[in-house]
């Protein structure tokens, strides 16, 4: 989903830009303190282009677009009865070490860390939750 607004290059139109960004993010229920930052950043960029790239010429136009791109997917593996071990404290061996020892085993956690961008381990009421995210994994909306 894409939302866009075109304005002429005049500072009086900055208010409309801010309202557009605020309303669009509001519709996606983005929290207002996050919205405030984005409103400011977009305002700064537009003000910059209006002044320095277009010399406040209102016959020139620029366009602001907000794209609701994709969904973020995260993964959990939950262990209701964990042992005391925390995978994230485990010091990974070197692949070359495993190869030179011709060892069968020890590559699993190396793969896990190479694949996932974020891995967290959290305990809730005795349950151990491994929470993971890989940034490139996105759903279509």
């Amino acid at each position: 989903m894409q939302h866009s607004l075109r304005i002429g290059c005049s500072n009086v139109n900055l208010k409309e830009v801010r309202t557009f960004v605020e309303n669009t993010l509001g519709a996606y229920r983005v929290p207002s303190d996050e919205t405030d930052w984005v409103v400011l950043a977009i305002d700064e960029l537009c003000a910059n282009l209006i002044a320095h790239a277009h010399g406040w010429d209102p016959s020139h136009q620029i366009e602001v677009c907000i794209v609701n791109e994709a969904s973020v997917i995260s993964f959990q593996v939950r262990d209701p009865a964990p042992d005391g071990f925390n995978l994230l404290d485990y010091k990974l061996p070197e692949v070359q070490q495993i190869v030179s020892e011709k060892r069968n085993g020890g590559l699993g956690l190396i793969l896990l860390r190479r694949i996932m961008d974020e891995i967290r381990a959290e305990r809730h009421n005795g349950e151990l939750v491994y929470w993971m995210r890989k940034y490139s994994v996105r759903g279509s909306l």
Binding site: S10, N11, L14, K15, R18, L40, D43, E44, A47, A51
Partner: protein, 119 residues
């Protein structure tokens, strides 16, 4: 944005209402020209009704703080919302200008600080 000026005893007050952005920062700058010429020893800026600030507004405060310092005039803001304070903070400028929740607090802060502290 609407700007109004009031003068009272040793201080001037610039009251701002609405959005201080690239289109309105000139009004704040003009208000400073006016109150600086009246030569009172303190300038307060009442931000109670200020909804928004972007870099041109902050730029006016920075440059006018220079004028105030040269003329030995103290500058204080009050009624600054958290939303506006965090813009100063992200730039590391929340210590630059004396800020109080109320005019009384800004006044106390101004009196607690020597002009020379604020170079």
């Amino acid at each position: 944005m609407e700007v109004s000026i009031s003068e009272e005893g040793n201080h001037s007050i610039i009251s701002l209402s609405g959005d201080l952005d690239a289109s309105s920062s000139i009004s704040l700058d003009n208000a400073f020209t006016s109150v600086l010429s009246s030569q009172r020893s303190v300038i307060f800026v009442d931000c109670t009704k200020l909804d928004y600030i972007s870099s041109p507004g902050i730029g006016v405060f920075i440059s006018r703080l220079g004028d105030c310092e040269r003329q030995g005039i103290r500058l204080g803001l009050f009624g600054v919302s958290d939303k506006i304070l965090k813009v100063f903070k992200i730039l590391g400028l929340d210590q630059l200008i004396i800020i109080g929740k109320t005019k009384q607090e800004a006044e106390l802060n101004i009196n607690a600080t020597q002009p020379s502290d604020r170079m």
